[in-house]
Subunit: 203 residues, 2 copies
DNA sequence: GTCTATAGGTAGATAGAC
DNA sequence: GTCTATCTACCTATAGAC
Protein backbone atom coordinates (compact mmCIF):
# COMPACT_ATOMS: atom_id res chain seq x y z
CA UNK A 1 0.00 0.00 0.00
CA UNK A 2 2.83 2.40 0.81
CA UNK A 3 5.13 1.27 -1.93
CA UNK A 4 3.96 3.01 -5.05
CA UNK A 5 1.07 5.18 -6.10
CA UNK A 6 -0.34 4.56 -9.54
CA UNK A 7 -0.57 7.85 -11.40
CA UNK A 8 -2.63 6.65 -14.32
CA UNK A 9 -4.07 3.21 -13.97
CA UNK A 10 -2.39 1.20 -16.67
CA UNK A 11 -4.82 -0.94 -18.62
CA UNK A 12 -4.23 -4.52 -17.64
CA UNK A 13 -3.80 -7.27 -20.16
CA UNK A 14 -7.46 -8.15 -20.13
CA UNK A 15 -8.44 -4.62 -21.10
CA UNK A 16 -5.78 -4.52 -23.79
CA UNK A 17 -7.15 -7.70 -25.29
CA UNK A 18 -10.71 -6.39 -25.26
CA UNK A 19 -9.66 -3.19 -26.96
CA UNK A 20 -7.76 -5.00 -29.69
CA UNK A 21 -10.69 -7.38 -30.11
CA UNK A 22 -12.98 -4.40 -30.63
CA UNK A 23 -10.91 -3.11 -33.48
CA UNK A 24 -10.44 -6.51 -35.12
CA UNK A 25 -14.04 -7.65 -34.72
CA UNK A 26 -15.25 -4.41 -36.25
CA UNK A 27 -12.85 -4.60 -39.17
CA UNK A 28 -13.09 -8.30 -39.98
CA UNK A 29 -16.14 -9.49 -38.10
CA UNK A 30 -16.22 -11.78 -35.08
CA UNK A 31 -16.20 -14.96 -37.11
CA UNK A 32 -13.67 -13.55 -39.53
CA UNK A 33 -11.21 -12.86 -36.74
CA UNK A 34 -9.24 -15.84 -35.45
CA UNK A 35 -7.78 -16.10 -31.98
CA UNK A 36 -4.42 -16.14 -33.74
CA UNK A 37 -5.17 -12.74 -35.28
CA UNK A 38 -6.08 -11.39 -31.90
CA UNK A 39 -3.08 -12.93 -30.19
CA UNK A 40 -0.77 -11.40 -32.76
CA UNK A 41 -2.36 -7.99 -32.24
CA UNK A 42 -1.52 -8.06 -28.54
CA UNK A 43 1.83 -9.80 -29.04
CA UNK A 44 0.96 -13.11 -27.45
CA UNK A 45 0.77 -16.67 -28.64
CA UNK A 46 -2.75 -17.85 -29.35
CA UNK A 47 -2.78 -20.30 -26.45
CA UNK A 48 -1.94 -17.55 -23.98
CA UNK A 49 -5.25 -15.79 -24.61
CA UNK A 50 -7.04 -18.65 -22.92
CA UNK A 51 -5.41 -17.83 -19.63
CA UNK A 52 -7.40 -14.56 -19.62
CA UNK A 53 -10.62 -15.80 -21.21
CA UNK A 54 -12.10 -19.29 -21.27
CA UNK A 55 -13.49 -18.98 -24.78
CA UNK A 56 -13.41 -16.67 -27.76
CA UNK A 57 -17.05 -15.80 -27.20
CA UNK A 58 -16.24 -14.61 -23.69
CA UNK A 59 -14.03 -11.93 -25.25
CA UNK A 60 -16.86 -10.80 -27.46
CA UNK A 61 -19.28 -10.65 -24.54
CA UNK A 62 -16.82 -8.63 -22.45
CA UNK A 63 -16.37 -6.15 -25.29
CA UNK A 64 -20.08 -5.68 -25.77
CA UNK A 65 -21.02 -5.51 -22.11
CA UNK A 66 -18.31 -3.03 -21.24
CA UNK A 67 -19.12 -0.89 -24.24
CA UNK A 68 -22.86 -0.79 -23.72
CA UNK A 69 -22.51 -0.04 -20.03
CA UNK A 70 -20.23 2.91 -20.70
CA UNK A 71 -22.57 4.14 -23.43
CA UNK A 72 -25.44 4.34 -20.97
CA UNK A 73 -23.25 6.44 -18.70
CA UNK A 74 -22.27 8.81 -21.51
CA UNK A 75 -25.86 9.36 -22.53
CA UNK A 76 -27.14 9.85 -19.00
CA UNK A 77 -24.46 12.42 -18.23
CA UNK A 78 -25.61 14.46 -21.22
CA UNK A 79 -29.27 14.15 -20.36
CA UNK A 80 -28.72 15.17 -16.74
CA UNK A 81 -27.36 18.54 -17.83
CA UNK A 82 -30.22 19.35 -20.20
CA UNK A 83 -33.04 21.60 -19.03
CA UNK A 84 -35.24 22.92 -21.84
CA UNK A 85 -36.95 20.57 -24.32
CA UNK A 86 -34.61 21.63 -27.08
CA UNK A 87 -31.60 21.05 -24.84
CA UNK A 88 -32.90 17.59 -24.07
CA UNK A 89 -33.32 16.77 -27.73
CA UNK A 90 -29.84 18.12 -28.33
CA UNK A 91 -28.49 15.98 -25.50
CA UNK A 92 -29.99 12.86 -27.07
CA UNK A 93 -28.39 13.59 -30.43
CA UNK A 94 -25.01 14.60 -29.05
CA UNK A 95 -24.88 11.88 -26.43
CA UNK A 96 -25.96 9.08 -28.71
CA UNK A 97 -23.71 10.06 -31.59
CA UNK A 98 -20.79 10.53 -29.24
CA UNK A 99 -21.35 7.06 -27.82
CA UNK A 100 -21.74 5.18 -31.09
CA UNK A 101 -19.25 7.13 -33.23
CA UNK A 102 -16.51 7.91 -30.77
CA UNK A 103 -16.21 6.38 -27.35
CA UNK A 104 -17.87 2.98 -27.85
CA UNK A 105 -17.64 2.87 -31.58
CA UNK A 106 -16.32 -0.67 -31.90
CA UNK A 107 -18.77 -2.20 -29.44
CA UNK A 108 -21.78 -0.63 -31.14
CA UNK A 109 -20.73 -1.67 -34.58
CA UNK A 110 -19.97 -5.21 -33.50
CA UNK A 111 -23.09 -5.74 -31.41
CA UNK A 112 -25.16 -4.62 -34.34
CA UNK A 113 -23.59 -7.03 -36.79
CA UNK A 114 -22.57 -10.01 -34.70
CA UNK A 115 -25.08 -10.42 -31.87
CA UNK A 116 -26.65 -13.33 -33.67
CA UNK A 117 -23.55 -15.46 -33.24
CA UNK A 118 -23.78 -15.29 -29.45
CA UNK A 119 -24.99 -18.29 -27.49
CA UNK A 120 -28.55 -17.89 -26.17
CA UNK A 121 -27.34 -17.09 -22.65
CA UNK A 122 -24.88 -14.43 -23.75
CA UNK A 123 -27.32 -13.05 -26.25
CA UNK A 124 -29.88 -12.51 -23.55
CA UNK A 125 -27.47 -10.50 -21.43
CA UNK A 126 -26.20 -8.36 -24.29
CA UNK A 127 -29.62 -7.67 -25.78
CA UNK A 128 -30.90 -6.69 -22.36
CA UNK A 129 -28.15 -4.08 -22.13
CA UNK A 130 -28.88 -2.85 -25.64
CA UNK A 131 -32.54 -2.52 -24.79
CA UNK A 132 -31.71 -0.67 -21.62
CA UNK A 133 -29.60 1.82 -23.54
CA UNK A 134 -32.35 2.35 -26.07
CA UNK A 135 -34.97 2.71 -23.36
CA UNK A 136 -33.06 5.68 -21.94
CA UNK A 137 -33.36 7.38 -25.31
CA UNK A 138 -36.97 6.37 -25.81
CA UNK A 139 -38.16 7.64 -22.47
CA UNK A 140 -36.32 10.92 -23.00
CA UNK A 141 -38.05 11.30 -26.35
CA UNK A 142 -41.37 10.37 -24.81
CA UNK A 143 -41.03 13.27 -22.40
CA UNK A 144 -40.65 15.61 -25.34
CA UNK A 145 -43.77 14.47 -27.15
CA UNK A 146 -46.04 16.81 -25.21
CA UNK A 147 -43.91 19.89 -25.66
CA UNK A 148 -44.73 20.37 -29.34
CA UNK A 149 -41.07 20.19 -30.24
CA UNK A 150 -41.39 16.88 -32.02
CA UNK A 151 -44.20 15.37 -34.12
CA UNK A 152 -47.13 13.78 -32.32
CA UNK A 153 -46.67 10.32 -33.79
CA UNK A 154 -43.90 9.55 -31.34
CA UNK A 155 -43.37 5.95 -32.35
CA UNK A 156 -42.77 6.70 -35.99
CA UNK A 157 -40.68 9.75 -35.16
CA UNK A 158 -38.55 7.71 -32.77
CA UNK A 159 -37.96 5.00 -35.35
CA UNK A 160 -37.11 7.63 -37.92
CA UNK A 161 -34.75 9.64 -35.75
CA UNK A 162 -32.96 6.70 -34.14
CA UNK A 163 -32.62 5.05 -37.53
CA UNK A 164 -30.93 8.10 -38.98
CA UNK A 165 -28.63 8.34 -35.96
CA UNK A 166 -27.77 4.64 -35.81
CA UNK A 167 -27.05 4.48 -39.50
CA UNK A 168 -24.23 6.98 -39.09
CA UNK A 169 -22.03 4.10 -37.91
CA UNK A 170 -22.16 2.90 -41.53
CA UNK A 171 -20.73 6.00 -43.13
CA UNK A 172 -19.22 8.36 -40.55
CA UNK A 173 -15.46 8.69 -40.81
CA UNK A 174 -13.75 10.21 -37.75
CA UNK A 175 -11.13 11.87 -39.94
CA UNK A 176 -13.60 13.40 -42.38
CA UNK A 177 -14.68 17.02 -42.67
CA UNK A 178 -17.48 16.70 -40.15
CA UNK A 179 -17.00 16.52 -36.41
CA UNK A 180 -19.43 14.51 -34.33
CA UNK A 181 -20.66 17.71 -32.72
CA UNK A 182 -21.31 19.37 -36.07
CA UNK A 183 -23.17 16.31 -37.24
CA UNK A 184 -25.36 16.32 -34.13
CA UNK A 185 -26.11 20.02 -34.52
CA UNK A 186 -26.89 19.56 -38.19
CA UNK A 187 -29.33 16.76 -37.51
CA UNK A 188 -30.86 18.73 -34.65
CA UNK A 189 -31.55 21.58 -37.04
CA UNK A 190 -33.31 19.18 -39.40
CA UNK A 191 -35.71 17.78 -36.83
CA UNK A 192 -36.23 20.98 -34.80
CA UNK A 193 -35.16 24.03 -36.81
CA UNK A 194 -34.00 26.96 -34.72
CA UNK A 195 -36.04 29.81 -36.11
CA UNK A 196 -33.73 32.45 -34.68
CA UNK A 197 -31.01 31.23 -36.96
CA UNK A 198 -32.65 31.90 -40.29
CA UNK A 199 -29.62 31.80 -42.53
CA UNK A 200 -30.40 28.29 -43.57
CA UNK A 201 -34.02 29.02 -44.31
CA UNK A 202 -33.48 32.02 -46.55
CA UNK A 203 -33.37 31.47 -50.23
CA UNK B 1 -38.28 -26.22 -80.21
CA UNK B 2 -41.72 -27.49 -81.10
CA UNK B 3 -42.00 -29.94 -78.25
CA UNK B 4 -43.14 -27.91 -75.24
CA UNK B 5 -43.82 -24.29 -74.36
CA UNK B 6 -42.84 -23.09 -70.91
CA UNK B 7 -45.77 -21.30 -69.30
CA UNK B 8 -43.96 -19.93 -66.27
CA UNK B 9 -40.23 -20.21 -66.34
CA UNK B 10 -39.33 -22.58 -63.54
CA UNK B 11 -36.44 -21.35 -61.44
CA UNK B 12 -33.45 -23.48 -62.30
CA UNK B 13 -31.25 -25.02 -59.70
CA UNK B 14 -28.87 -22.09 -59.70
CA UNK B 15 -31.66 -19.68 -58.82
CA UNK B 16 -32.97 -22.01 -56.14
CA UNK B 17 -29.53 -22.13 -54.54
CA UNK B 18 -29.17 -18.36 -54.60
CA UNK B 19 -32.55 -17.89 -53.00
CA UNK B 20 -31.80 -20.36 -50.21
CA UNK B 21 -28.41 -18.74 -49.72
CA UNK B 22 -30.11 -15.37 -49.28
CA UNK B 23 -32.24 -16.65 -46.46
CA UNK B 24 -29.41 -18.53 -44.75
CA UNK B 25 -26.82 -15.77 -45.12
CA UNK B 26 -29.27 -13.26 -43.68
CA UNK B 27 -30.19 -15.47 -40.74
CA UNK B 28 -26.77 -16.85 -39.85
CA UNK B 29 -24.34 -14.63 -41.69
CA UNK B 30 -22.17 -15.59 -44.66
CA UNK B 31 -19.35 -16.94 -42.55
CA UNK B 32 -21.76 -18.60 -40.15
CA UNK B 33 -23.37 -20.55 -42.97
CA UNK B 34 -21.50 -23.63 -44.18
CA UNK B 35 -21.79 -25.09 -47.63
CA UNK B 36 -23.22 -28.14 -45.90
CA UNK B 37 -26.03 -26.00 -44.41
CA UNK B 38 -26.78 -24.61 -47.82
CA UNK B 39 -26.67 -28.01 -49.51
CA UNK B 40 -29.11 -29.42 -46.98
CA UNK B 41 -31.48 -26.50 -47.57
CA UNK B 42 -31.71 -27.33 -51.27
CA UNK B 43 -31.59 -31.11 -50.74
CA UNK B 44 -28.21 -31.74 -52.25
CA UNK B 45 -24.93 -33.11 -50.97
CA UNK B 46 -22.36 -30.45 -50.23
CA UNK B 47 -20.07 -31.50 -53.05
CA UNK B 48 -22.86 -31.09 -55.59
CA UNK B 49 -23.02 -27.34 -55.01
CA UNK B 50 -19.63 -27.00 -56.63
CA UNK B 51 -21.00 -28.13 -59.94
CA UNK B 52 -23.08 -24.93 -60.03
CA UNK B 53 -20.61 -22.55 -58.41
CA UNK B 54 -16.84 -22.73 -58.26
CA UNK B 55 -16.59 -21.29 -54.76
CA UNK B 56 -18.78 -20.34 -51.84
CA UNK B 57 -17.98 -16.70 -52.43
CA UNK B 58 -19.33 -16.94 -55.96
CA UNK B 59 -22.74 -17.77 -54.48
CA UNK B 60 -22.59 -14.69 -52.31
CA UNK B 61 -21.63 -12.49 -55.22
CA UNK B 62 -24.45 -13.87 -57.37
CA UNK B 63 -26.95 -13.16 -54.59
CA UNK B 64 -25.78 -9.59 -54.14
CA UNK B 65 -25.44 -8.73 -57.81
CA UNK B 66 -28.85 -10.12 -58.75
CA UNK B 67 -30.48 -8.41 -55.80
CA UNK B 68 -28.95 -5.00 -56.34
CA UNK B 69 -29.70 -5.07 -60.04
CA UNK B 70 -33.36 -5.81 -59.44
CA UNK B 71 -33.50 -3.13 -56.77
CA UNK B 72 -32.39 -0.49 -59.24
CA UNK B 73 -35.19 -1.59 -61.55
CA UNK B 74 -37.79 -1.39 -58.78
CA UNK B 75 -36.73 2.10 -57.81
CA UNK B 76 -36.56 3.41 -61.36
CA UNK B 77 -40.03 2.12 -62.16
CA UNK B 78 -41.41 4.09 -59.23
CA UNK B 79 -39.51 7.23 -60.11
CA UNK B 80 -40.62 7.12 -63.74
CA UNK B 81 -44.27 7.41 -62.71
CA UNK B 82 -43.77 10.38 -60.38
CA UNK B 83 -44.53 13.88 -61.62
CA UNK B 84 -44.80 16.50 -58.85
CA UNK B 85 -41.98 17.03 -56.36
CA UNK B 86 -43.98 15.44 -53.59
CA UNK B 87 -44.77 12.45 -55.78
CA UNK B 88 -41.08 12.08 -56.49
CA UNK B 89 -40.21 12.16 -52.82
CA UNK B 90 -42.96 9.65 -52.21
CA UNK B 91 -41.60 7.43 -54.98
CA UNK B 92 -38.16 7.44 -53.37
CA UNK B 93 -39.57 6.38 -50.01
CA UNK B 94 -41.94 3.76 -51.37
CA UNK B 95 -39.52 2.39 -53.94
CA UNK B 96 -36.56 2.18 -51.62
CA UNK B 97 -38.47 0.63 -48.74
CA UNK B 98 -40.14 -1.83 -51.06
CA UNK B 99 -36.77 -2.86 -52.42
CA UNK B 100 -34.95 -3.29 -49.13
CA UNK B 101 -37.82 -4.64 -47.00
CA UNK B 102 -39.67 -6.80 -49.46
CA UNK B 103 -38.38 -7.81 -52.83
CA UNK B 104 -34.62 -7.81 -52.27
CA UNK B 105 -34.66 -8.01 -48.52
CA UNK B 106 -32.06 -10.73 -48.12
CA UNK B 107 -29.58 -9.23 -50.55
CA UNK B 108 -29.70 -5.80 -48.91
CA UNK B 109 -29.32 -7.15 -45.44
CA UNK B 110 -26.42 -9.37 -46.43
CA UNK B 111 -24.58 -6.83 -48.52
CA UNK B 112 -24.74 -4.43 -45.62
CA UNK B 113 -23.28 -6.85 -43.12
CA UNK B 114 -21.00 -9.09 -45.13
CA UNK B 115 -19.49 -7.06 -47.95
CA UNK B 116 -16.21 -6.85 -46.07
CA UNK B 117 -15.63 -10.57 -46.42
CA UNK B 118 -15.59 -10.36 -50.21
CA UNK B 119 -12.32 -10.59 -52.09
CA UNK B 120 -11.10 -7.25 -53.45
CA UNK B 121 -12.26 -8.05 -56.98
CA UNK B 122 -15.76 -9.11 -55.94
CA UNK B 123 -16.00 -6.26 -53.51
CA UNK B 124 -15.33 -3.79 -56.24
CA UNK B 125 -18.13 -5.12 -58.40
CA UNK B 126 -20.67 -5.28 -55.60
CA UNK B 127 -19.84 -1.88 -54.16
CA UNK B 128 -20.10 -0.37 -57.63
CA UNK B 129 -23.63 -1.72 -57.89
CA UNK B 130 -24.49 -0.46 -54.43
CA UNK B 131 -23.19 2.97 -55.31
CA UNK B 132 -25.16 2.95 -58.53
CA UNK B 133 -28.35 2.19 -56.66
CA UNK B 134 -27.67 4.93 -54.17
CA UNK B 135 -26.81 7.40 -56.90
CA UNK B 136 -30.28 6.95 -58.38
CA UNK B 137 -31.73 8.03 -55.06
CA UNK B 138 -29.26 10.83 -54.58
CA UNK B 139 -29.82 12.41 -57.95
CA UNK B 140 -33.58 12.21 -57.48
CA UNK B 141 -33.20 14.00 -54.15
CA UNK B 142 -30.90 16.54 -55.70
CA UNK B 143 -33.61 17.47 -58.17
CA UNK B 144 -35.92 18.19 -55.27
CA UNK B 145 -33.54 20.51 -53.46
CA UNK B 146 -34.61 23.55 -55.49
CA UNK B 147 -38.32 23.02 -55.07
CA UNK B 148 -38.40 24.02 -51.41
CA UNK B 149 -39.90 20.68 -50.46
CA UNK B 150 -36.81 19.53 -48.63
CA UNK B 151 -34.20 21.42 -46.55
CA UNK B 152 -31.49 23.30 -48.35
CA UNK B 153 -28.60 21.40 -46.80
CA UNK B 154 -29.11 18.52 -49.21
CA UNK B 155 -26.12 16.48 -48.12
CA UNK B 156 -27.12 16.34 -44.48
CA UNK B 157 -30.76 15.80 -45.35
CA UNK B 158 -29.85 12.95 -47.67
CA UNK B 159 -27.70 11.27 -45.03
CA UNK B 160 -30.47 11.73 -42.50
CA UNK B 161 -33.28 10.44 -44.68
CA UNK B 162 -31.41 7.51 -46.20
CA UNK B 163 -30.14 6.54 -42.79
CA UNK B 164 -33.64 6.38 -41.37
CA UNK B 165 -34.82 4.37 -44.37
CA UNK B 166 -31.88 1.98 -44.45
CA UNK B 167 -32.10 1.31 -40.75
CA UNK B 168 -35.59 -0.12 -41.18
CA UNK B 169 -33.96 -3.39 -42.27
CA UNK B 170 -32.86 -3.73 -38.65
CA UNK B 171 -36.31 -3.64 -37.09
CA UNK B 172 -39.04 -3.98 -39.70
CA UNK B 173 -41.02 -7.21 -39.40
CA UNK B 174 -43.09 -8.13 -42.47
CA UNK B 175 -45.76 -9.71 -40.29
CA UNK B 176 -46.07 -6.77 -37.90
CA UNK B 177 -48.85 -4.20 -37.71
CA UNK B 178 -47.30 -1.86 -40.24
CA UNK B 179 -47.29 -2.45 -43.98
CA UNK B 180 -44.39 -1.20 -46.05
CA UNK B 181 -46.70 1.29 -47.73
CA UNK B 182 -47.95 2.66 -44.42
CA UNK B 183 -44.39 3.02 -43.21
CA UNK B 184 -43.39 4.92 -46.33
CA UNK B 185 -46.38 7.24 -46.02
CA UNK B 186 -45.70 7.83 -42.34
CA UNK B 187 -42.09 8.74 -43.01
CA UNK B 188 -43.14 10.94 -45.92
CA UNK B 189 -45.41 12.87 -43.60
CA UNK B 190 -42.53 13.41 -41.18
CA UNK B 191 -40.17 14.90 -43.76
CA UNK B 192 -42.75 16.75 -45.85
CA UNK B 193 -46.00 17.22 -43.92
CA UNK B 194 -49.07 17.46 -46.08
CA UNK B 195 -50.69 20.65 -44.83
CA UNK B 196 -54.04 19.78 -46.38
CA UNK B 197 -54.27 16.83 -44.05
CA UNK B 198 -54.15 18.70 -40.77
CA UNK B 199 -55.53 16.04 -38.47
CA UNK B 200 -52.07 15.13 -37.35
CA UNK B 201 -51.03 18.70 -36.66
CA UNK B 202 -53.96 19.67 -34.50
CA UNK B 203 -53.56 19.48 -30.81
C1' DG C 1 1.48 -15.57 -17.20
C1' DT C 2 3.40 -16.99 -21.31
C1' DC C 3 5.39 -20.39 -24.04
C1' DT C 4 5.44 -24.71 -27.39
C1' DA C 5 3.08 -28.33 -29.23
C1' DT C 6 -0.84 -30.48 -30.53
C1' DA C 7 -5.47 -32.54 -29.95
C1' DG C 8 -9.99 -32.76 -31.98
C1' DG C 9 -13.19 -30.92 -34.94
C1' DT C 10 -14.96 -28.80 -39.07
C1' DA C 11 -14.38 -25.82 -42.97
C1' DG C 12 -14.21 -25.34 -48.30
C1' DA C 13 -13.15 -27.81 -52.10
C1' DT C 14 -11.87 -31.98 -55.24
C1' DA C 15 -11.96 -36.76 -57.54
C1' DG C 16 -14.12 -40.13 -59.73
C1' DA C 17 -18.15 -43.42 -59.93
C1' DC C 18 -22.69 -43.45 -61.67
C1' DG D 1 -25.95 -33.40 -62.37
C1' DT D 2 -25.57 -35.68 -58.19
C1' DC D 3 -23.43 -38.90 -55.26
C1' DT D 4 -19.72 -40.76 -51.92
C1' DA D 5 -15.45 -40.31 -50.09
C1' DT D 6 -11.81 -37.70 -48.84
C1' DC D 7 -7.97 -34.08 -48.98
C1' DT D 8 -5.87 -30.20 -46.96
C1' DA D 9 -6.05 -26.36 -44.20
C1' DC D 10 -7.34 -23.98 -40.44
C1' DC D 11 -10.15 -23.33 -36.40
C1' DT D 12 -10.77 -23.21 -31.04
C1' DA D 13 -9.09 -24.98 -27.14
C1' DT D 14 -5.97 -27.83 -24.04
C1' DA D 15 -1.64 -29.81 -21.76
C1' DG D 16 2.35 -29.30 -19.62
C1' DA D 17 7.07 -27.03 -19.45
C1' DC D 18 9.13 -22.91 -17.82
Amino acid sequence: MARSRKRTRLPNRREIIIKAAGRLFREKGYEGTTVRDLAEAVKLQSGSLFFHFDTKEEILVALLEDGLRRAVAILDRRLANAMTPREKLSAILHGHLEAILDEERDAFYVVLRDWRTLSPASRKKVIALRDEYESHISSALEELSDTGLIPRNTRLFRLFLLGALNWTVQWYKPDGDLTIGQLADGFLDLVAPDRLNTDQNRK
